[in-house]
């Protein structure tokens, strides 16, 4: 390893000042300048056996695209990424790189790993600024129709890959806007909706048709789609069913699921009420239960909507928090307070049925559980009252049951997730594939995209043989 290379420190992504942030929904992380990107790219050792690629669920040729950035050949860099990833501007922003590609980076052993995610975002944003970016590849049509249910990361990825292979793809989306969790879940300040729109526009240009306002299982069943001439169906409906804790007081006014809170804000733009007509009602002291990315998004959104205090209430310790490091850091900078080793056992209301406080219990960490994390153990007699007027449940989501209920020969597991082969997405029903959160339970955008890619490959193979 040449000594000069590591002299360059990992480039820090510029971001809005915390005080500025919490008064707007503007994007927080501002992206690298060109000079920063080239400098950061120069840190890559271009390893003979690049471990970073193994850490990427969609196997982007990472050293190759970084090398192109170093040479300021951005068009080549984006082409390299797009060979594997159809949503690079999104992944560059929301992937948990620290647990994936960057975790495997050799530089990370002694120094800081190369900022692969930041570089991906840089080149994807560069691409969007170009006129007529990446022309769709002309392919000869296969004459085969594929239906994709859900337009989140798994569905969009599969749609793009299948369209590139010449298949006629229709995506069915239940909401009025395409994008799934990218539009209803992840907030504007972390993933601007214009970025999502442009990425989806790119997928439309590949010839993919997206039909919104279509709830498969209601307006058409999976069997009806197949009868209509779709030779294969890919189910990518995500983890759309919010979990509650089943504690007393959860139906009080002022208790939201994170899904409701974020959907009102992101998809329905309640932060622009009354110009936009969907309301959101928030108190001054907001408690978010859970510590994943959804919880961080909720706690940070609450501050932007005017909460004076925003708490993350989590029954384990900081080490076990599942959110991306950046999100935890951003949340802390913005003033989110962490109440760790704590969980509510009851929510209490006032005489009008509004949240007034939570009864919380303290926890300590015991032996590791099956997830390998130390199990939280309640401390008897540790209950105390915490004054809050809004509670947001961000403790996870399960599979939406609509498709399972209307597709009798589709095998589900005991949690209601669709049983599908991990490598192909093949379900118990011939011609029907599934992938993303509907199969695995709530996970990450990039994992869903990885599942979409695998399924697209398997569907293509399946279509050759029928």
């Amino acid at each position: 390893m040449s000594p000069e290379r590591v002299k360059v420190d990992r480039q820090v992504m510029p971001s809005l000042e915390a005080v500025q942030r919490i008064n707007s929904f503007d994007e927080v992380a501002l992206g690298y300048s060109e000079e920063q990107a080239v400098l950061e790219a120069s840190r890559c050792l271009n390893c003979k056996k690049p471990l970073c690629i193994e850490g990427c669920p969609v196997e982007i040729n990472i050293p190759a695209f970084i090398n192109f950035i170093k040479e300021r050949k951005y068009a080549d860099a984006i082409r390299t990424i797009k060979e594997k990833n159809n949503l690079p501007a999104i992944c560059g922003r929301v992937c948990p790189q620290e647990n994936q590609c960057e975790k495997r980076c050799v530089l990370g052993k002694k120094h800081q790993p190369v900022a692969i995610g930041n570089l991906e975002r840089f080149v994807a944003d560069w691409d969007m600024k170009q006129e007529g970016n990446t022309e769709p590849v002309q392919v000869s049509p296969s004459g085969k129709k594929v239906a994709i249910v859900g337009s989140g990361p798994a569905g969009l990825t599969a749609a793009a890959d299948l369209a590139r292979l010449g298949h006629q793809v229709t995506v069915f989306e239940a909401l009025h806007t395409a994008g799934g969790v990218l539009v209803y879940g992840i907030p504007e300040f972390r993933l601007p909706k214009i970025i999502v729109e442009r990425e989806i526009e790119g997928i439309r240009r590949l010839g993919v048709e997206i039909k919104t306002n279509m709830v498969v299982g209601k307006v058409h069943t999976v069997d009806e789609l197949m009868a209509q001439g779709y030779a294969a169906v890919f189910i990518a409906t995500g983890a759309g069913l919010p979990y509650f804790m089943n504690i007393p007081g959860e139906n009080l006014n002022g208790v939201y699921s994170a899904n409701e809170f974020l959907t009102r804000t992101n998809l329905m733009k309640a932060y622009l009420f009354p110009e936009y007509l969907t309301p959101i009602r928030l108190g001054k002291r907001v408690a978010v239960i859970g510590a994943g990315n959804v919880a961080m998004d909720s706690a940070r959104t609450a501050l932007r909507l005017g909460a004076l205090e925003s708490y993350i209430v989590y029954r384990r310790s900081e080490q076990e928090m599942p959110a991306r490091k950046d999100e935890i850091e951003h949340a802390r900078e913005e003033g989110v307070q962490f109440k760790l080793l704590t969980s509510p056992v009851e929510i209490r209301g006032d005489e009008n049925g509004w949240v007034r406080s939570m009864i919380c219990q303290r926890f300590e960490l015991g032996e590791p559980d099956e997830s390998g994390r130390r199990r939280p153990v309640a401390i008897p007699g540790s209950e105390y009252e915490m004054e809050v007027d809004t509670v947001i449940m961000a403790i996870g989501q399960g599979p939406n049951p609509l498709i399972g209920q209307t597709t009798p020969d589709l095998q589900l597991n005991r949690h209601g997730n669709i049983v599908a082969d991990a490598n192909t997405g093949q379900t118990s029903k011939p011609g029907v594939f599934a992938g993303g959160d509907i199969v695995t339970g709530a996970a990450t955008v990039i994992q869903a995209m990885g599942a979409g890619k695998k399924a697209a490959r398997a569907i293509h193979e399946y279509l050759q043989n029928i």
């Binding site: 239940a174 909401l175 009025h176 209803y184 919104t212 306002n213 279509m214 709830v215 209601k218 307006v219 058409h220 759309g240 069913l241 919010p242 509650f244 089943n246 959860e250 139906n251 009080l252 006014n253 002022g254 939201y256 699921s257 899904n259 409701e260 959907t263 009102r264 329905m268 009420f273 009354p274 110009e275 936009y276 007509l277 969907t278 309301p279 959101i280 009602r281 009008n352 049925g353 939406n400 049951p401 609509l402």
Partner: protein, 283 residues
């Protein structure tokens, strides 16, 4: 975009649309609902399907102008288009031959009770219908309900139509007279559905109500519409909208229906101050 084919003023502040939505009309069943959004700034508004015509590919929606969004809906005319319509959502009504069924509709709740009553009649039930409104000029679908009922009772708060009083007064009379009733279906304001359920409870007559809580997506994704049914929490959008009236926690339902009352008023002020007066626009 979804075109309003026909618009009609049914009663004071109650309007009917026939709207083109062939794929939804092909699947719609009594008891189900749709969610509409008029324009980019609009809310997602759940509306029970009042009727459907599969040949014409249309749905009938009946709404009362009670707030900002429904007033904006009321201003639209035949030929106008709305941005979004999704459905059919929710579970269809359970239609069976119960024997003698009492169908009760209050106010704009008469709209969704109509297709259910018709289906129950077609299934061979003897139908006693009770419909009520504030006054004669708020009463809708009297003729339609008469066509699908063996007996039709009408009530109004002020006595300007039918018997003076509430729909529950008629139900109480029927029950006290010892009328054999096998099943009750009631749709209307929460207080009405609660009162019907309380009346029928001692007689152990299965009573189905249709809840219309606050919703966002309508597909089970947000949980805004959760209702307490017995000891369980259910989502009205996917588990309902119909539930056993004897198991509904009416207090929770009433409190939750008021969650955004202040915001509703703010939205209304915004519309009245916002100009764009359409008083003289012709229907």
């Amino acid at each position: 975009m979804f075109e309003i084919l026909h618009k009609q003023v049914l009663a004071h502040s109650i309007k009917r649309w026939e709207i083109l939505a062939p794929e939804v009309a092909a699947k719609a069943q009594p008891g189900q609902f749709v969610i509409i959004r008029i324009n980019e700034q609009g809310e997602r508004i759940p509306l029970t399907i009042a009727d459907y015509n599969r040949d014409r590919g249309s749905l009938t929606l009946i709404f009362q102008e009670v707030g900002r969004s429904t007033i904006e809906m009321g201003r639209l005319r035949a030929g106008d288009k709305i941005l979004d319509l999704v459905g059919p959502l929710g579970q269809p009504s359970k239609i069976a031959n119960y024997g003698r069924v009492v169908c009760i509709g209050g106010g704009v709740g008469i709209a969704p009770i109509y297709p259910i009553t018709r289906a129950l009649k077609q299934a061979g039930n003897e139908i006693i219908s009770i419909i009520g409104a504030r006054s004669a000029d708020h009463l809708i679908l009297q003729r339609e309900m008469a066509e699908v009922s063996d007996q039709l009772y009408i009530t109004s708060d002020d006595g300007s139509a039918g018997q003076k009083g509430f729909v529950t007064d008629v139900l109480q009379q029927l029950l006290e007279q010892g009328t054999a009733i096998d099943h009750i279906v009631a749709i209307g304001p929460l207080v009405m559905m609660k009162a019907v359920s309380e009346l029928s409870r001692p007689y152990r007559i299965k009573t189905t109500v249709s809840l219309n809580p606050i919703m966002v997506d309508g597909t089970g994704m947000c949980g805004a519409c959760r209702v307490a049914i017995g000891s369980e929490t259910k989502f009205a959008c996917v588990d309902g909208p119909e539930f056993d009236g004897h198991l509904v926690d009416w207090e929770v339902a009433q409190i939750r229906s008021r969650m955004f009352r202040e915001e509703e008023e703010i939205a209304m002020q915004h519309i009245t101050r916002g100009g764009d007066c359409q008083c003289h626009r012709k229907e």
